[in-house]
C-alpha cells in the first residue's frame, strides 16, 4: 500500500513548481519595485495603495463585479428552467438535449464570440429583425449589452449542465412522497426539488461568475477598445504598459476577492446541508 502512495511524489513536485511557484511569483512581483529583475529587491505596498486610492480603478473593479453578477443572475434564471425541463424529459431525449447543450461548449470560445460580431454589427441579422419590429438604428455591437450577451452565451451551458446533473441525481420517489403527503407542486418544488438541486446551482454560479469577472476577450471583441473591465486592465498592464508589478498587484487583489467570494458561497452550501440534517 505504501508503495502506491509514492506514486504521488512526482506530482507533488510538479505541483509545487507549476502551481504554487507561479502564485508565489505574482505575490512577489506585487510587493516589489520594477521587478523585471529580482536583483533589485525592495519591498513596497505602493502598487496596492495606487489601486485602492484611485477611484477609476475601483470603479472598473465595481463594474466588472456588477456585470459578472448580472451574467450569473441571467444564467441562473434562464438555466434553471431549461435544466429542469431536460431533467423531466424521457431518458432518450435527455441525452440528446444534453448533447445539444454541450456541443457549443466544445467549440472554441473565441470562435463562438467572434460569431456574434457579424450578427450584431450594423446591418446584421439582429438589427434587421429589430428594425422589422420598429426599432430603427439600435447600436448593438460595442455596447455593454453586447458584452453581457457574449458572457451569457459563453457561460450559460455550464450553469445548465451543473443544475441538470444535480436534478438528475435526485430521487424521484421523493417527489411522489411529497405529493402523497399533500404538498402542492409549488411546495414540492420549494421544499424538495430546490434544496436538493442547490449543490448544482452553487457549482453553476461558480463556473459562471469566475470566468465572467476576469474575462477580457469578450469585452474586447464585443465591447470594443474603449470598453474596459478589470481583466482588460490587467492585460493592458502586462501587454502594453509594461508595469508588471502593478499588474501583479491587481491580479492578487482579484485572486483574493474571488477566494473570499467562493468561501462565502461554500458557506451557504454547508449551512444548507447542515439544515437538512436537522
Amino acid at each position: 500500500m505504501k508503495r502506491f502512495s509514492q506514486l504521488a511524489i512526482p506530482y507533488i513536485v510538479w505541483a509545487a513548481l507549476m502551481l504554487i511557484l507561479p502564485m508565489a511569483l505574482i505575490a512577489l512581483y506585487s510587493v516589489t519595485e520594477h521587478g523585471n529583475s529580482i536583483v533589485s529587491f525592495s519591498l513596497t505596498l505602493d502598487h496596492y495603495v495606487k489601486f485602492f486610492t484611485d477611484p477609476d480603478f475601483l470603479l472598473i473593479l465595481w463594474r466588472s463585479l456588477v456585470i459578472a453578477v448580472k451574467t450569473t443572475i441571467i444564467c441562473l434564471l434562464l438555466g434553471y428552467p431549461v435544466a429542469y425541463f431536460i431533467a423531466r424529459s424521457s431518458e432518450r431525449l435527455q441525452s440528446i438535449l444534453v448533447l445539444c447543450i454541450t456541443l457549443p461548449t466544445w467549440i472554441n470560445m473565441l470562435v463562438r464570440t467572434y460569431a456574434w460580431i457579424g450578427l450584431l454589427s450594423e446591418g446584421g441579422l439582429i438589427q434587421q429583425i429589430l428594425g422589422f419590429f420598429g426599432f430603427k438604428e439600435v447600436e448593438l455591437l460595442y455596447t455593454e449589452g453586447a458584452v453581457l450577451l457574449g458572457m451569457v452565451y459563453n457561460f450559460l451551458p455550464f450553469m445548465i449542465l451543473q443544475i441538470n446533473t444535480s436534478l438528475c441525481k435526485m430521487d424521484h420517489s421523493l417527489l411522489e412522497a411529497a405529493a402523497d403527503l399533500g404538498a402542492n407542486p409549488l411546495q414540492t418544488f420549494r421544499r424538495v426539488t430546490l434544496p436538493l438541486s442547490l449543490p448544482g446551482v452553487i457549482n453553476g454560479i461558480t463556473l459562471v461568475f469566475l470566468p465572467a469577472v476576469s474575462s477580457f476577450f469578450i469585452p474586447k471583441l464585443l465591447g470594443g477598445g474603449q470598453y474596459f473591465l478589470i481583466g482588460n486592465v490587467i492585460e493592458n498592464q502586462f501587454i502594453t504598459v509594461g508595469e508588471w508589478n502593478f499588474g501583479s498587484a491587481i491580479s492578487m487583489i482579484m485572486a483574493v476577492i474571488m477566494m473570499l467570494m467562493m468561501m462565502a458561497v461554500r458557506k451557504v452550501e454547508i449551512r444548507n446541508q447542515g439544515g437538512k440534517e436537522e
Binding site: L7, Y11, A15, G242
Partner: protein
C-alpha cells in the same frame, strides 16, 4: 395546467437551442459568402476556404490547437490518474493540502493563472513557444482529470488492491488489472474535460506563447479587428471536427451496445469510439501538416522570426521570400510599439522587428539592437530621401525604413464639412456636432500628439503642465463625445462609412479612400506626426544573416511594391512610391498616400523615458475614463 407547463418548457428549450446555434449557423453560412461582408450574403463561393488552406498561419494554428490538446490530454490523463491513485493512499494531511493546491487553477480567475505561468517562464528564462504552451496546458488539465478520477477511487473498496496482491498479483498487476479498470469511466470523463479545456483555452495560451506559435484562439483574437471571412471558414472546420468527435463518442457506444447486447462490450464501450475520435483528429492533423520541400537554395532549412505590425505585409511577400531563399518565415504581429518592446526587452528572440521612430531610438539607447552590416545590404540607394537620416537614427546605422506617413483625420465627405476641419483642426474631435460619430485610435503617442498639437504645443514637450492639459483635453473628448477607441477595426468600419470622423494613419486612410470614394483625408495645419516604421535587427537575433537578406528583399522594387500596393501605406522605396501615386498608379489622386513634408509644425517623435511613462499611465486612465463614462 400540466400541459401548459410542458409547452412552456418546450418553447423555452426551442429558444435556447436557437440561441446557442444561431451564431454558429450564421458563421457557417457566411463562410460560404462570396463577398467580404459579414452581413450581406452575395452568393455562394468557396474562396474563403481556399484562402484558409493557402494561409499557413491558419493551418499552423489549427495544427497547434489540436496537437497541443491531444498531447496535453494524454499526458495529463496519465499523470493525473497515477497521482490520484497515489494520493488516495497518502496521509490525510498530504491529501488535503494537495486538494487545495489543485484548486488553485480551478478557483483562480484564469488570467491570474496565466500571468503566474508567464512570470514563471520568464523568471527561469524558458524560451516561450510550443513547449511552454504545452506545459501550461498540462498543468491546468491535470487538476480536472484528478477531480473526475478521485471520486471513483474513493468509491472503491480500499482492500481491493490488497486482495489482489494476496492472490499473487504484483503491485503493477494490481494497479493495471484491478484498480484502473474500475475507475475507467472517471478517467475517460477526465480526459474529455481536459481535451475540451485545452481546445477552448485562450487566456493562458495567450500569455505563455512566443516565437510565433499561435493556437486558434490567439489567431482569432489577433485577426478579429479586420473583417476576414476566412476566420468563418476555419471556424466551420473546427465545428465540423468537434461535432464529428463528439458524435463518435456519444453515438458509437449506443450503436455498439445495440449490436452486441451489453455483454463484454461494456469495458470497451468508451475506448473504441474515443480511439476512433482520436484517429479522426490525427488524420486531420496529417492533412493539415503538409510540408513542402525544395532544395539548393541559400538559406534552406533556416528560420526567420519576424515581429511586425498586423496587416502590414503584402500578400505574396513572405511566400516570394521563402521561394527565393528556401528559408521559413515565422511572423508574429503586434498592435503597438509598447507591446513589441515589452516582449523584446524580456528576452524573446526575433530576427527582424519593425518598430516606429521613437521606439527605435529607445531600443538603441537600451542596447537592444545590433548595428546593420552594410556589406550585406544593397538597398539603401532605393530609399526616398525623406526617410533617410532622421533624428532617431541619424546615420541609419541600425534601421532601414519600411513604411512612412502622417497621422491625420479620415472623414466622411457627406457628413463632415471641409470648413469645420479647416477651422477646428484636431478640435473637431471635441465638436459635439459629431458626438457618437467618431473613432479615436488606441495609441498613447498619437492620441497625446493630437491633443498637444490642438493646444498649440510641441508633441515632444517635456512640460508636465502641457501634458496635463492634453490629458484633460482627451478626458473631455471621451466624456462628452462618446468616441470608440479602436485600432485596426477603424479600417473596415470607415471603408463602410460607419462613422463620420476618425484619427488615422495615412496608410490606412489610403486604403479606406481606395475602397470608398466618399472618404477624405485631412491634415490639420496645426501640425501632426511625421512617422516612419523601420526594420531593425535585435541584439539577440539568432539569424542576422538571413535578416539582412530579408531587409534587402523587402526594400527591393518587387517586395516594396507588393507591400505598399496591398497594404496602402507609403513605401520607403522612391520608385514604388512614385509609381503607385503617379499616373495610372493604384493610389493616383489619393492625397493620403503622399505624406506631407512641407509643414514646419510637423514633427518626428523623440523618445523620452519620463514623458513616456507619464503619457502611458495617463492614456490608460483616459481609456478607463472612457469605459466608465459609458
Amino acid at each position: 395546467m400540466k400541459k401548459g407547463k410542458r409547452t412552456f418548457g418546450k418553447v423555452l428549450m426551442g429558444l435556447m437551442i436557437i440561441f446557442f446555434y444561431l451564431p454558429i449557423v450564421y458563421m457557417i453560412i457566411f463562410s460560404f459568402n462570396e463577398g467580404k461582408s459579414l452581413t450581406n450574403f452575395t452568393g455562394f463561393s468557396l474562396r474563403w476556404y481556399l484562402h484558409m488552406l493557402e494561409s499557413r498561419d491558419m493551418m499552423e494554428a489549427l495544427y497547434t490547437t489540436f496537437s497541443v490538446a491531444l498531447l496535453a490530454t494524454f499526458i495529463s490523463t496519465v499523470v493525473g490518474t497515477i497521482a490520484a491513485i497515489g494520493l488516495s493512499k497518502s496521509k490525510k494531511i498530504v491529501r488535503d493540502v494537495m486538494e487545495q493546491v489543485n484548486n488553485l487553477p480551478l478557483m483562480n480567475p484564469e488570467i491570474v493563472t496565466a500571468i503566474g505561468f508567464m512570470l514563471l517562464f520568464i523568471t527561469f528564462k524558458v524560451e516561450k513557444g510550443y513547449v511552454t504552451m504545452l506545459l501550461a496546458h498540462i498543468a491546468f488539465c491535470i487538476p480536472y482529470v484528478m477531480l473526475s478520477v478521485m471520486p471513483k477511487i474513493r468509491s472503491l473498496d480500499p482492500n481491493l488492491a490488497n486482495a489482489a496482491m494476496d492472490l499473487g498479483a504484483t503491485p503493477w498487476q494490481a494497479l493495471t488489472k484491478v484498480i484502473v479498470p474500475q475507475i475507467t469511466p472517471g478517467i475517460v470523463s477526465g480526459a474529455l474535460i481536459a481535451f475540451t479545456m485545452s481546445v477552448d483555452d485562450f487566456i493562458i495560451s495567450y500569455f505563455v506563447t512566443g516565437s510565433g506559435v499561435k493556437n486558434l484562439s490567439i489567431m482569432v483574437y489577433t485577426m478579429s479587428k479586420r473583417v476576414n471571412p476566412s476566420i468563418n471558414a476555419i471556424s466551420t472546420l473546427v465545428v465540423l471536427i468537434i461535432t464529428l468527435v463528439l458524435v463518435l463518442i456519444n453515438v458509437a457506444p449506443m450503436l455498439l451496445a445495440k449490436r452486441a447486447k451489453k455483454s463484454e462490450i461494456s469495458k470497451r464501450r468508451i475506448f473504441v469510439p474515443a480511439a476512433a475520435a482520436a484517429a479522426v483528429v490525427v488524420l486531420i492533423l496529417c492533412i493539415v501538416k503538409m510540408s513542402g520541400t525544395s532544395s539548393g537554395l541559400p538559406y534552406e532549412g533556416e528560420t526567420l522570426y519576424v515581429y511586425n505590425w498586423g496587416e502590414y505585409t503584402g500578400e505574396n511577400l513572405i511566400p516570394d521570400f521563402e521561394a527565393a531563399t528556401g528559408a521559413t518565415v515565422v511572423m508574429e504581429n503586434f498592435d503597438s510599439n509598447e507591446q513589441m518592446y515589452i516582449k523584446v526587452a524580456n528576452g524573446e528572440a526575433y530576427d527582424i522587428l519593425v518598430p516606429s521612430d521613437y521606439m527605435i531610438q529607445r531600443m538603441i539607447d537600451e542596447d537592444l539592437l545590433q548595428k546593420l552590416d552594410y556589406s550585406r545590404l544593397d538597398c539603401m540607394e532605393n530609399l526616398t530621401e525623406s526617410v533617410i537620416g532622421l533624428p532617431y537614427d541619424p546615420g541609419n546605422e541600425y534601421s532601414v525604413p519600411y513604411f512612412w506617413g502622417n497621422v491625420g483625420i479620415v472623414y466622411d465627405k457627406t457628413k463632415v464639412s471641409q470648413k469645420d476641419l479647416e477651422q477646428e483642426g484636431f478640435r473637431v474631435f471635441l465638436d459635439e456636432k459629431y458626438k457618437g460619430d467618431i473613432y479615436l485610435y488606441d495609441s498613447e503617442r498619437d492620441s497625446f500628439m493630437m491633443a498637444l498639437k490642438s493646444l498649440g504645443y510641441s508633441m515632444n514637450t517635456e512640460n508636465e503642465e502641457e501634458i496635463q492639459q492634453a490629458y484633460e483635453w482627451l478626458i473631455q473628448c471621451v466624456e462628452t463625445m462618446e468616441p470608440e477607441i479602436v485600432t485596426d477595426e477603424i479600417i473596415d468600419n470607415m471603408a463602410q462609412g460607419r462613422k463620420a470622423l476618425g484619427l488615422i494613419y495615412s496608410g490606412d486612410a489610403t486604403y479606406i479612400m481606395s475602397e470608398n470614394e466618399n472618404m477624405g483625408f485631412y491634415l490639420p495645419n496645426e501640425g501632426t506626426n511625421l512617422w516612419s516604421d523601420a526594420m531593425v535587427i535585435p541584439a539577440n537575433a539568432k539569424n542576422p544573416e538571413l535578416a539582412h537578406a530579408f531587409i534587402n528583399f523587402v526594400s527591393s522594387y518587387e517586395g516594396a511594391y507588393d507591400n505598399s500596393s496591398y497594404v496602402g501605406y507609403t513605401s520607403a522605396n522612391q520608385e514604388v512610391m512614385e509609381d503607385l501615386s503617379g499616373e495610372g498608379g493604384e493610389y493616383e489622386g489619393i492625397n493620403a498616400y503622399l505624406p506631407r513634408t512641407d509643414n514646419d509644425k510637423d514633427e518626428v517623435f523623440v523618445y523620452n523615458e519620463d514623458t513616456r511613462k507619464l503619457i502611458s499611465n495617463l492614456w490608460s486612465k483616459v481609456k478607463i475614463a472612457a469605459s466608465n463614462a459609458k
